[in-house]
Symmetry: C2
Subunit: 332 residues, 2 copies
C-alpha cells in the first residue's frame, strides 16, 4: 500500500464559536453545568441566549475541526468533512480550515438553518461552558462524503458529538466502512458524557466490533463508557477492546495504552489557564501527529500535552503561535 | 440645562474586524504599508485578500465604536450610530455594542453590500495593518440619525474615517448641527493621515469655524493637519484653534492642551505588545471618560494610557478585562 495522501481526515461539526467572558453566577442563573456542552435546538433559543451574552469574539471551532487544524499547524496533511450553510459564518469556517492547508470541499448547504454556532461562556477559572446550535451541521449527508479523501488518509477521525444527529451518524458509519475497506485506521473521540448517555450502546458496539483503532476519552467519558465508577477498573475494561486508548485527565495529564504498553504524561505547566476550549481537541492533535511521525506512546502523549497547554493559554480553540517552532523548542 | 442622558454618542463605521497573525514578508508582498489603513473598494477585492489571509478571529471593531465600548466598560453611558447590513456580521456587531449597554438603534440595511469587514494583519511586533471593506457602513444616511440621542449626549464623537464616504459625511455634518444646537460638545478624531490627505480642507474648516471642541490626533496626523514638519510647530499651530487637543505618541505617551494648560503622560508599561489595533480608540475612551468625571487633564490622559495599554496587550480592539477593576487598581 502506498503512503496515503493525508495523515488524518476528520468528520465533525462545522461550528463557529462565539466566546465571551462570564461570571459563575451567570451559569447558575441560566442553569448551565460548568464545563458541559448543551445543545440548543432552535434558532430562537440560540438568539435568546446570545442576547444575554456579553461581548464576544468569534473563532472557528468544532471539535474534530480543531484537531485537524492542530495537526495541520504541526505540519501534518489533513482533510475535513463537515456541513456549513451558505452564509457568512460558513465562509469564516471554510476560510479558517483552508487557510491552514486543510482540504475541505463539503459544499455549503443552501437555505435555513444557518451555520452552526457555539456560545461559549468562559469563567474566571478558564473553564468553558458550551451551548451549541448545530444548524446546518446536523444535516451532513452521507452523499457529501468524499470517498477518495477518506480512503487515502492514514486515519479517519470522528467526533462523538456528531453521532447525535441522524444524517451525520449515517454518514460516519459509511465513512468507517470506506476507511476500513481501504485498510485505514479509525480514531474516535467520545466528546462528552451526554453523547455516551444517548449513544453509549452504539459506541460500545463499534468498539466490540473492532471498528475503532484509537479511542480518545476524558476520565468522565471513560467511566460512562465502561459503566463503572473506578478509573482503573474503567481502563482495565476498555483498554483490551481497542488497539490504542488515550485518556486525558485535565491537570493530571494523560495516559495511553497500546497493545499492552502503558505510558503517561503530566500536564504541561502554563502560567495561566485562560480558556480550556479545545484542550481535548488539541491533545488529540498532538498525540495523532506524534504517532504519525512514528514516535513512541510517551513522546506522542507529550506532544499532546504541549498542544493542549498552548490552546488553553488563550481564547479560542485553534493554535495562535507557530506550533512547529513551539514543538522544536519543547521537544528539541 | 439638565444632565444629558448619555456621556458620549459616537458616529462611526460599523465594522467587524478579522484579525490574523502575519509575517512582515506578507505585507511587503501585498504592498501594504505597515501600520496603515487601506480601503478595499469591492467585495471581490476583499474576498481575494481574505483568501490569502491566515486563520483569523472575528471581533467587533470600528474606531468610534471601540471608543464608546471602552467608555461603556469604564461605566459611562453611551450611544452609537452606524450602518450595518442585515446579515450575520451585522448581528455580531449589534450584539457586541448592545451587550455592553450602548444604545444602538440604527436599522440594519437590506441587500448588498454586506456589513463592513476589516482584514487586520498583525505582525510579530504587534503592529496592525488594516484593509477595510466599508460595505454597508458607507451608506449611513442622515435620515438614520437619532436626533434626540445626539441632542441629549454631553459629547458627540466623530471619526475621520467616516468622513470619506459621501452619505455619512453629510450625516455627520447634520449631527454636528444637532449637537451644537443643543449646546453639546463635539469631539473629532482625525483617524489616519489618508483621511487628512483627502479631507484636510474640510477638517481645517470645521476647526476654524469653531465646530470641534476636542480634537484627537496622533503625531503623523497632527503634522499632516498643520502642514508643518516639526511636532512643536504643529502643536503651536493647532492648539489655539481647539479648546482641547489630545495628541497620542505611541510608546512616547501622549499630551493634551486645554485652554492654555498643557499636560503629558508616559505610555503605560506593558509586558508585551500583542496587537496595537484600537490603541488610539481606547486612549480616546479613557481620556473622554476622565473628562466626563471632571478629572483634570493629566489624570484624564493617564486613564487614556491605561485603557490603551490594556487593549494592545491582547488581540482585538475591545476591552477583555473588567475595566472598572483595572482602573481602581491603577488609579485607586
Amino acid at each position: 500500500m502506498t503512503k496515503p495522501a493525508h495523515d488524518v481526515v476528520a468528520i465533525g461539526n462545522a461550528i463557529v464559536d462565539i466566546l465571551s467572558q462570564s461570571e459563575d453566577a451567570f451559569l447558575a442563573q441560566e442553569g448551565m453545568a460548568k464545563g458541559s456542552m448543551q445543545l440548543m435546538f432552535s434558532p430562537e433559543e440560540a438568539d435568546a441566549l446570545y442576547a444575554k451574552m456579553g461581548p464576544g469574539i468569534e473563532a472557528s471551532g468544532g471539535s474534530a475541526a480543531n484537531t485537524v487544524a492542530g495537526i495541520a499547524a504541526l505540519g501534518g496533511k489533513c482533510g475535513f468533512i463537515g456541513q456549513v450553510a451558505d452564509d457568512q459564518l460558513g465562509e469564516v469556517f471554510a476560510h479558517d480550515v483552508r487557510s491552514v492547508g486543510i482540504d475541505f470541499g463539503t459544499p455549503a448547504r443552501a437555505g435555513a438553518p444557518t451555520t452552526a454556532r457555539c456560545l461559549i461562556f468562559v469563567t474566571p477559572d478558564g473553564q468553558r461552558t458550551m451551548n451549541t446550535f448545530l444548524g446546518a451541521s446536523q444535516f451532513l449527508p452521507a452523499a457529501a462524503l468524499d470517498r477518495d479523501l477518506i480512503a487515502d488518509a492514514a486515519i479517519l477521525y470522528l467526533e462523538g458529538y456528531l453521532w447525535d444527529p441522524e444524517e451525520p451518524r449515517a454518514a460516519m458509519r459509511a465513512a468507517i466502512d470506506i476507511a476500513r475497506g481501504a485498510g485505514r485506521k479509525v480514531a474516535f473521540t467520545l466528546s462528552d458524557t451526554f453523547c455516551i448517555s444517548r449513544h453509549g450502546g452504539d459506541f460500545r458496539t463499534l468498539i466490540a466490533d473492532g471498528l475503532i483503532d484509537i479511542l480518545f476519552a476524558n476520565e468522565a467519558e471513560l467511566l460512562a463508557l465502561a459503566e463503572v465508577e473506578d478509573f482503573d477498573a474503567a481502563v482495565a475494561k476498555i483498554a483490551p477492546q481497542v488497539p490504542t486508548l488515550v485518556v486525558t485527565r485535565s491537570e493530571n495529564g494523560a495516559i495511553a495504552l497500546q497493545n499492552g504498553t502503558k505510558a503517561s504524561v503530566a500536564a504541561e505547566p502554563i502560567a495561566k489557564v485562560v480558556d480550556t476550549t479545545g484542550a481535548g481537541d488539541l491533545f488529540a492533535a498532538g498525540f495523532l501527529h506524534g504517532q504519525a511521525q512514528g514516535w513512541d506512546l510517551e513522546k506522542s502523549l507529550r506532544l499532546g500535552a504541549i498542544c493542549a497547554a498552548e490552546i488553553i493559554s488563550h481564547f479560542g480553540a485553534r493554535p495562535q503561535v507557530d506550533m512547529k517552532a513551539l514543538v522544536a523548542e519543547k521537544l528539541g
